[in-house]
Structure formats: structure tokens, C-alpha cells
């Protein structure tokens, strides 16, 4: 009885080809390598300073609520990816023909998916960080509507990240790119329209500051206003006459010309 069992096990072992044993071995090595990769990833993220940089972002706080952290998610992701690669290699070695087509598709798709997920996580974290930085910059300005600008910056970054991630896994993103271009164009056009006067004055101001055709203390006549120059800055020239201070935009100064009154 024992003999027959012995024979069955022997037959089974002999029946399983060397390739399968090799595949199992590769799988085991893959798990070990995955473990090592996870360790290296977490140490690398720590060393590069990712941990301090992302501290305080909403994404990090949300992950903390779920008892994990952004670095741990990235670490686990890298581990899972390594194991999947080893599984794929093992299956190829084992030469399981029936799965060829399926695994062939997966082999191309998996790395792309992995990169897409990493880009998405990085995008969310960077978007949060941008929002933090912008709002910190604007903290001195006490305006209720100012809260919109950091939010806008955040979603712009997020949008771009999603776009890159989607294109990575081969989803058609042409429509979204057109949307992005339209949005960027609108921002540029409206900014140019809104700051047209400021830009013109600024350009004129650069010339006035560099060449100083008139300086503080000169008596000048600009656009019908006569007086003593008190201050020239990038955008405006201040001219004073008997208690009246005229603040003249620099583009007017350049457009209408300056009359310097000599001899006093």
C-alpha cells in the first residue's frame, strides 16, 4: 500500500517538469526581492526628503486617517509590482501555453498601470503641496476671495496629473488636452487683457528708471500737469505742485512726452 503511494508521489514529482520547479523558485526569489525593494524604496523616499516635503498635505492627512502614509502606499505599490513581475516571469518559464495571450497583454499593461498609479499619487501630493505653498504666500492679503487661487492652482496640477496618468494607460485624452489648452489660453488672454495697462506702464517704467530722462527734484510738465518730480517707480511717476500730487502712469509719460522746465 505504501509502495503504491510512494510510486504515485514519485510519479507526480517526475511528472512535474523541471520548468515548474524553476518557476516556483523564481516566484520565491521574487517575493524576497519584493521585500528588499520595499525596504529600499522606503529608505530612498526618506533620504530624498519626500517625507518632510509632503508633511501637512491633505492627501498625507487622509492616508494617516486610514492608518497608513503616502510613503507606505508607494512602498507597498513597488512591492506588489515586483511580485507581479516575478509571477509573470515564473509563468513564462513554466511555459503554460494556454495563458500566453492573456499574460502577453498583461505584461504590456502592468508597468503602464504601475507608472500611472505612481503619477497619480505624485500628482495628488504635488497638488496639495502647491495649494499649501500658494496659500502661504497669499496669507498676508486679507481678502475672502483669495482662497480661490490656491484651490485653482491645486486643481490645475491635479488635472495635468490625471491627464498624464490616463495617457499612460492608453485612454484617449485628446478631448481633455483640447480642454486644457482652451483653459490655458483663456487664462493667458484674460491676464493680458486685465494687466494691459500695467504691462505698458511697467515697460515704460523700465526705460525711465534705466535712462532717467528726468530725476527727483526736476520741474517737468507731463500731460498738462506741471510740477516737481517726487518719485519715479516702475509703474507711476509722482509730480507735486502746491500741495497737489499728481500720480501719472508711466505709459502716459512716454506717450505724451515730457517737458523739462529749465533754469530755476
Amino acid at each position: 500500500m505504501f509502495g503504491s503511494l510512494q510510486f504515485a508521489v514519485d510519479g507526480f514529482i517526475r511528472g512535474v517538469s523541471v520548468r515548474v520547479w524553476l518557476a516556483l523558485f523564481i516566484l520565491a526569489v521574487g517575493v524576497l526581492v519584493a521585500y528588499g525593494v520595499m525596504g529600499i524604496t522606503s529608505r530612498l523616499l526618506d533620504r530624498v526628503g519626500v517625507v518632510e516635503t509632503i508633511e501637512g498635505t491633505t492627501f498625507e492627512r487622509t492616508t494617516n486617517e486610514f492608518g497608513t502614509s503616502t510613503t507606505r502606499i508607494l512602498t507597498q505599490l513597488s512591492g506588489v509590482f515586483t511580485i507581479l513581475v516575478s509571477v509573470f516571469v515564473a509563468i513564462t518559464v513554466a511555459d503554460l501555453r494556454f495563458a500566453d495571450l492573456f499574460w502577453g497583454g498583461i505584461a504590456v499593461f502592468l508597468p503602464q498601470l504601475f507608472i500611472a498609479v505612481v503619477i497619480l499619487v505624485a500628482g495628488v501630493v504635488i497638488a496639495d503641496k502647491v495649494e499649501l505653498l500658494v496659500s502661504e504666500r497669499l496669507r498676508g492679503i486679507k481678502l475672502p476671495e483669495i482662497g480661490l487661487i490656491p484651490l485653482l492652482a491645486k486643481y490645475s496640477v491635479l488635472f495635468v496629473a490625471i491627464l498624464i496618468a490616463l495617457s499612460q494607460i492608453g485612454v484617449a485624452v485628446l478631448a481633455l488636452i483640447v480642454l486644457l489648452a482652451a483653459y490655458a489660453l483663456a487664462v493667458i488672454v484674460f491676464t493680458a487683457l486685465a494687466t494691459h495697462d500695467l504691462l505698458a506702464s511697467g515697460a515704460a517704467g523700465v526705460y525711465l528708471l534705466l535712462n532717467q530722462p528726468y530725476s527727483i527734484g526736476d520741474e517737468v510738465k507731463v500731460g498738462g500737469q506741471q510740477g516737481i518730480v517726487q518719485e519715479v517707480d516702475l509703474l507711476v511717476t509722482r509730480i507735486e505742485t502746491n500741495g497737489e500730487e499728481h500720480i501719472i502712469p508711466n505709459r502716459t509719460v512716454l506717450k505724451d512726452g515730457i517737458v523739462r522746465i529749465q533754469g530755476h
Binding site: 530725476s215 527727483i216 527734484g217 516737481i228 517726487q230 518719485e231 507735486e240
Partner: protein, 268 residues
């Protein structure tokens, strides 16, 4: 039978306002719920609602309190006859003294006015003060130097003065507060004449000979020509003069033809 804490209670009882001089965050937190708390310091580090800025770090505690009260009077926080409790730090960085001050109109010396109601930016005036104090402390190669800065209303000042030599600041864009300025002004202070500084802090000219009419200028007797010129120009224009005396080494500020403030550089 009075204990120490009873005496301290007497000091702070029935006050109309509490002034904290440069408190740290946690100390300020302890005052939440106390009415009429004002913070006085160089910077509003604790995000206090009522804040009076100290433009120069007065080393004399009496000056510091007087300046704070003057500022609070100008802002309408306290009025004549109010009693104020002052808490601040004298020896260490933590709060270590408490005082009781009755607000009095005679406290209004114009020092606060000098900074906040001048034509020039308050920051520019305190920058010039810093340069003058530094110059007074170190001098030129160990020897005392004199200097005259006319700040604000630069157009009018330029028209009431003439150049003594070529203007080294012509077509330049040097502002007081720039890091290089201290060294530059120290070198140029060797030559006579006044520095003219605009409202926004641009150094317009050096070597200016001021030509104001000196009639009716009320400055103490015994001060020299530099002080007379510096005082008189502030009567003719809306400028503020900051003068470093070569003979006694003091820094004086004039506004409206009057001596407003006298500081000893050695104390800062």
C-alpha cells in the same frame, strides 16, 4: 497684612487697558478673555487684533512705554486719564515686569507721529535711524563722524538745496535698507553735505548744501550748523531730518523745524 501678590493685584486692578510688550505666543494665549489687550512690539508675531509697532527697539523701558502709549493714543485705544497696565520683558526674553501708567497728554512727544505721520515710509525712517545709529556707534575708522539725512519730500528738498560736488548717486538705484548701503554711506559721510532720501527710500543725492531760510527755527542753543540746516529744512518742506552729531555723538530727529527725538547710539 499684605502679601506680595496683593501688591501686584493693586498694580493691575481697575485698569482700562493691558499693554503687552513683545510677548511670545504662549504668553499671549493666556490673555484670551481679558478685555482691551494691546500688543506693542517690533512685529506682530502673535496675530494680535490691536497692535502698535515699535520702529526702533528702545532700550530705555520708559521710552518704550511712552512710545507705546503715544501710539495707542493716536489709534484711539486709550485717552487722557486712562490707567494702563504694562507687562513686558526687561532682563530676559520672558515677561518679567509689570507696571501701572496713567495716560497723560504731556506724554505726546511726537515720536510716534515722527514715524507714522511723516511723508516718508515708516520703514524708511527707521532704516535711516538704524544707519545713523550704526554710524554713530562705529564712526569712521574709530573717529566720530557727523552726518545729515533728509528723508521724504525729496523733490522740494532738492529744489531748496544745491550740489557741493558731483552726485555719486546719480542714475543709481540705491535704497536705504540695502545691505551695501551702510558701508557706502559711511564712506560718503567723510565729505560734507546732506544725504537726500525720497519717500520710498531711494537715495537721491549726497553732498547737498541745504539752503532753507532759518527764520523761526526752534532748536536748542549750542548745536552746530549741521543741526541748524537739518532743523530748518524740515520747516520749509515736509521732510524729516535725522542728524548724527560729530561733537556729542547723539542722533537727533527734526520735524516741522522742531527737535523731536534724541537717541544715544551707544545704548542701541
Amino acid at each position: 497684612m499684605t502679601s506680595l501678590s496683593d501688591i501686584l493685584t493693586d498694580l493691575v486692578s481697575d485698569v482700562d487697558a493691558v499693554f503687552l510688550f513683545s510677548p511670545n505666543g504662549s504668553f499671549y494665549e493666556r490673555f484670551t478673555g481679558v478685555a482691551d489687550v494691546a500688543v506693542i512690539g517690533a512685529e506682530n508675531t502673535v496675530d494680535a487684533d490691536t497692535f502698535v509697532e515699535l520702529p526702533i527697539p528702545f532700550s530705555d523701558i520708559q521710552d518704550r512705554i511712552k512710545f507705546g502709549i503715544e501710539g495707542a493714543m493716536d489709534d484711539g485705544l486709550v485717552g487722557e486719564g486712562d490707567v494702563v497696565a504694562c507687562i513686558g520683558s526687561l532682563f530676559s526674553d520672558d515677561a518679567d515686569f509689570a507696571g501701572r501708567v496713567r495716560v497723560d497728554e504731556t506724554m505726546r512727544s511726537g515720536i510716534y507721529d515722527l514715524f507714522t505721520n511723516s511723508r516718508a515710509d515708516p520703514a524708511v525712517i527707521s532704516d535711516v535711524f538704524e544707519v545713523a545709529l550704526e554710524l554713530g556707534r562705529k564712526g569712521q575708522k574709530g573717529k566720530p563722524v557727523g552726518a545729515l539725512f533728509v528723508v521724504g519730500d525729496a523733490g522740494k528738498v532738492m529744489n531748496k538745496s544745491r550740489p557741493l560736488s558731483y552726485n555719486p548717486f546719480e542714475k543709481s538705484h540705491v535704497h536705504v535698507g540695502d545691505p551695501i548701503v551702510n558701508v557706502m554711506l559711511k564712506e560718503f559721510s567723510r565729505l560734507d553735505g546732506a544725504f537726500v532720501i525720497s519717500d520710498s527710500g531711494k537715495i537721491v543725492s549726497a553732498y547737498r548744501y541745504l539752503e532753507p531760510s532759518a527764520e523761526g527755527v526752534d532748536i536748542p542753543k549750542g548745536l552746530g550748523a549741521r543741526h541748524m540746516a537739518g532743523g530748518a529744512i524740515t520747516r520749509d518742506t515736509n521732510a524729516t531730518s535725522i542728524v548724527l552729531s560729530e561733537s556729542d555723538g547723539l542722533v537727533r530727529a527734526f520735524k516741522g523745524g522742531k527737535l523731536i527725538l534724541e537717541l544715544d547710539p551707544e545704548e542701541y
